[in-house]
Symmetry: C2
Subunit: 381 residues, 2 copies
């Protein structure tokens, strides 16, 4: 086990009807900007619940934070927030709305252009922020990270600021989600855990177990959710798994982490607009295959404990584990080949070029550079 420091101060408020807790949690006298995505919260009653809970508070609404939130949209929100002297932010939506609002929280206190903050990578001088989550996937509701896109430059980068003060998770808010968003969210949750797990065995035995526990839960609930998207208990497990998948809990013990799949996936989203979870489903089996030497022991542990693969040679067991992973993503209704999305060698070459230009060195051993990224992508044609 490696040395580590851990602290996650987020107050998690989960369950039916919990949106009404907003009134007890937001300090009195705040000038609140409530941020939203494209309007789905008006169809599923979340908007009404939030409005009701915030009666008596001073609120301004900002609408239109898109999937893969862009600096172009967030600049508008920051301008509005400065004009309105906003001193509290409430993000209502999925990971994109929450991620975007994290940049707004720093941008409100920054004089220059907020894209500077994204390029710097972090800023903790922020306006306090809380969330009402409606789409389980990114874990943004219980971590300090965000991913922000730039339409003009077709770039997508990570940004770190402060944790939300509190996050409200009502599983009933997920009942109106379309199937593809659920599939993406399940894939996203799965790969978040894999990025923190699929390196080497036993740096922390306990964290290995907890990561496997989330993977097992997601695998168990995914087919049940597909049959019954309005099942409260299943959607609650999904929500809790997504939050626990990226809030630092399964990263205790200073475990090594990978994140190469994410870095390659971000480029696919930036270049082709593919949804985030979907890009991960395409890339992860390739990362496993191309890095099968360095990750082999852990892939075998994963195969055995998560999929029950116990027979065969080392290579056969690794192959089976990769196949099971690929099949799982396809069972969600996601394609897992670039060619199915009409993506070819041009894109692969462009990602290689970008990685080379930036001196990319991702993965737990910093081996995923432009050349290896190209191999991983070519494995998924």
């Amino acid at each position: 086990m490696n040395n580590f420091i851990f602290q996650n101060p987020v107050k998690l408020i989960m369950g039916k009807g919990m949106i009404s807790e907003l009134a007890n949690e937001i300090p009195a006298g705040k000038r609140i900007m409530v941020t939203f995505g494209g309007g789905s919260v008006k169809k599923n009653n979340v908007y009404n619940q939030v409005k009701k809970a915030l009666e008596g508070f001073h609120t301004v609404e900002f609408w239109g934070i898109e999937a893969n939130p862009t600096i172009e949209t967030l600049r508008k929100a920051i301008a509005l927030g400065k004009e309105e002297k906003i001193d509290f932010l409430l993000a209502v939506g999925g990971g994109s709305v929450i991620d975007g609002t994290k940049l707004i929280s720093a941008g409100l206190l920054y004089e220059g252009d907020a894209w500077d903050l994204v390029l710097a990578g972090n800023e903790t001088n922020t306006v306090p922020l809380a969330t009402v989550l409606t789409l389980p996937a990114t874990g943004s509701e219980m971590n300090a990270g965000a991913v922000i896109s730039n339409t003009a430059t077709k770039e997508k980068f990570s940004f770190f600021s402060n944790y939300p003060l509190f996050s409200i998770l009502d599983p009933e808010t997920t009942f109106t989600l379309p199937g593809n968003q659920i599939a993406n969210g399940l894939a996203d949750t799965f790969v978040h855990v894999m990025e923190q797990y699929l390196t080497v065995p036993g740096v922390s035995r306990l964290m290995d177990r907890w990561a496997e526990g989330i993977l097992q839960t997601v695998i168990e609930i995914a087919p049940l959710i597909q049959k019954d998207k309005h099942n409260y208990d299943l959607m609650a497990e999904f929500m809790l798994s997504a939050t626990m998948g990226l809030n630092g809990f399964v990263a205790l013990g200073g475990i090594p982490q990978d994140w190469a799949t994410h870095m390659i996936g971000h480029e696919l989203t930036a270049l082709h607009g593919l949804s985030h979870g979907h890009t991960l489903a395409i890339i992860l089996p390739g990362t496993m295959n191309i890095l099968r030497e360095s990750k082999g022991d852990k892939i075998i542990q994963y195969g055995e404990r998560v999929w029950g693969i116990t027979g065969g040679t080392r290579d056969e067991r690794i192959n089976q584990a990769i196949t099971k992973t690929d099949q799982f993503f396809r069972s969600l209704g996601l394609t897992t080949r670039l060619s199915k999305e009409n993506i070819g060698t041009d894109t692969i070459n462009e990602i290689e070029r970008r990685f080379n230009e930036r001196g990319a060195a991702f993965g737990e051993n910093q081996t995923v550079n432009g050349k290896i990224a190209k191999k991983i992508l070519s494995d998924r044609l």
Copy 2:
């Protein structure tokens, strides 16, 4: 899944040499009382590390917080702390020192006798407190609870206050622990998880997995630790498991909890001075056996996932799971029968009398009253 609210603000600082972080974590200008147990920290270099880290701070030492900390000792610490105008507490030791210091932290701001606070059950008006843990077991370093004893009345009650600000866990501090303290700590960790797990299946599928993950880890490391008590990685897993076993993480999802085994165990400690973990090892198999009807489905899940028990009738599987549990405790070197500790029907009758007098109704279904406690104890003669 049930509705719940979760927040655990403790900053966990774990690893070799991390005691030196004290200087960065304690706010300047504080009047610190450092609390200790019986002096083992002078033998294992912890005292020297703490002294060195606190150079330049104003400190007062209080020594002698005993196992199962007593109100009699804590009254002395509170008197000293008031005299010295202490406004920061640093507990250096195991769960008993930390538990005792939690009561001191409330007692310093209370005019009356601190036993009033214990009888009230909770008090959150406290002086800030941090910990340096030296004995993995109780989880007190990352929760808000404590258990305080009264020698005069032979009573032992729970008390809840605030979380530590931060806790430092250096696995090397455990290298000088005697074997019986390690055995007790492993049993304590195991039963903490069981109290939050062994009720009914699937209230949270994910929490079931995480609880099983801690149990599997403890079962895996226990025999290895017995062979090699100076193995850093093993002791780190033990420390992390103990902390994660009782910090609210495996209780997410508003899961039902039991705690009847603890309540009966506390009485054995109060009446006979048996160490806490040991009492739990004696009682838990009895709780499982006497409550086999209501807990049956979960005992079968536990047997299958934790011990690999898949064959036999329902009753046979439950019996096997109980036997495995009893054998595990005995493998730690603990006796698991009251008669081995010369405890007989007099004690059982006294515990029944106390439970009846207090109107006890413990366990997830509030069914463990005096009569059921007597049955459980009689099962362990």
